[in-house]
């Protein structure tokens, strides 16, 4: 874009918007979304969470957490339990490996909690061994009251959907 200079009417003046702040902000937004989408992809495996009718649940706090996902596969059967991006089979060997990994992470800090996300269609008998594994993983990590587990549910009233 050009205009006429007031000081020198014969000479055109280059004018233009300074794009630097906009580009800075846009890059910051992109970095934010890249990081958030990576975190949510690791922690939030798509599944149908339990939806209590009149939920007495509370919002998750900001304490450091380990997210254990138990998603339902075809025919509502879980194939494996996932911790971050590692899948552990639901057999004794797999659950033992999960227990060791959980214990290693729980030993790092006493504030670490375990969030259990399990598909509501799963049989309770399939979720119970995972809960047992989480309970055993607290052994020797300095937790006299045991591992703090947060059962993750969906509160549709908070979600904006009709209750």
């Amino acid at each position: 874009m050009s205009a006429v200079s007031r000081l020198d009417p014969g000479r055109p003046v280059q004018t233009g918007a300074n794009l630097t702040p906009m580009i800075d902000m846009t890059f910051l937004l992109i970095v934010f979304f890249v990081l958030v989408s990576r975190i949510t992809a690791v922690e939030q495996v798509p599944m149908e969470l339990p939806v209590p009718t009149d939920p007495a649940s509370s919002p998750a706090d900001d304490a450091p957490r380990i997210v254990v996902n138990l998603a339902a596969g075809e025919f509502s059967e879980p194939r494996s339990v996932t911790l971050d991006q590692t899948a552990y089979p639901l057999d004794p060997d797999g659950l033992r490996s999960l227990e060791f990994e959980l214990r290693r992470r729980l030993a790092i800090s006493p504030e670490v909690q375990v969030n259990l996300r399990a598909d509501r269609r799963l049989d309770y008998a399939l979720v119970a061994p995972v809960i047992d594994t989480i309970a055993r993983s607290g052994r020797g990590t300095g937790r006299p009251d045991g591992v703090r587990v947060n059962l993750v549910v969906m509160n549709e009233q908070e979600n904006g959907a009709a209750p």
Partner: protein, 160 residues
């Protein structure tokens, strides 16, 4: 010397040529990326939690001999929205009435159970996780603080 070269020399002395990077394609791509991530990112909207402490009963070494063992209230989840409360009372048979019943049993509501009475949810085989959590929610909603799932391991025989 031609007039063109003279003019160029004059311009070079007073007004150096500007070299600018064309940012337009980069801004286009950056905005495309921004829109992609805006639409593609999903946040944990509406996700909430129930707190549950899981003591390791198998590895428990020391037991306080003076600690009173509160007898728990066991709620069997039978499936299909049906429940059975074990004990000397006539409890509700539907999960939808469970919270109201448990609240009436609280000591501060004229009942016999302190609010720290252990409530053990015992889902039958074939009951799905959603229904088990529904019964768990009813006990929490009724105001009890020590709600857990029944432990089937032979060493424990009590709550998780």
């Amino acid at each position: 010397m031609s007039s063109r070269s003279r003019a160029g020399r004059r311009r070079g002395r007073t007004d150096p040529p500007k070299v600018e990077l064309n940012l337009t394609p980069m801004i286009d791509v950056v905005f495309q990326l921004l829109i992609y991530f805006l639409l593609g990112t999903s946040f944990a909207v509406g996700e909430q939690t129930f707190r549950m402490d899981l003591p390791d009963r198998e590895g428990r070494g020391e037991v306080d001999p003076f600690e009173l063992d509160d007898s728990p209230v066991v709620i069997q989840v039978l499936g299909g929205g049906r429940v059975h409360v074990e004990g000397p009372w006539t409890g509700p048979d539907r999960t939808s009435n469970l919270a109201e019943f448990l609240e009436r049993q609280r000591l501060d509501r004229g009942g016999l159970l302190p609010s720290d009475t252990p409530i053990h949810i015992d889902p039958n085989s074939g009951v799905d996780w959603g229904e088990a959590v529904e019964a768990f929610n009813a006990a929490v909603l009724a105001g009890y603080h020590s709600v857990g799932f029944m432990d089937d391991t032979p060493q424990a025989g009590s709550d998780r």
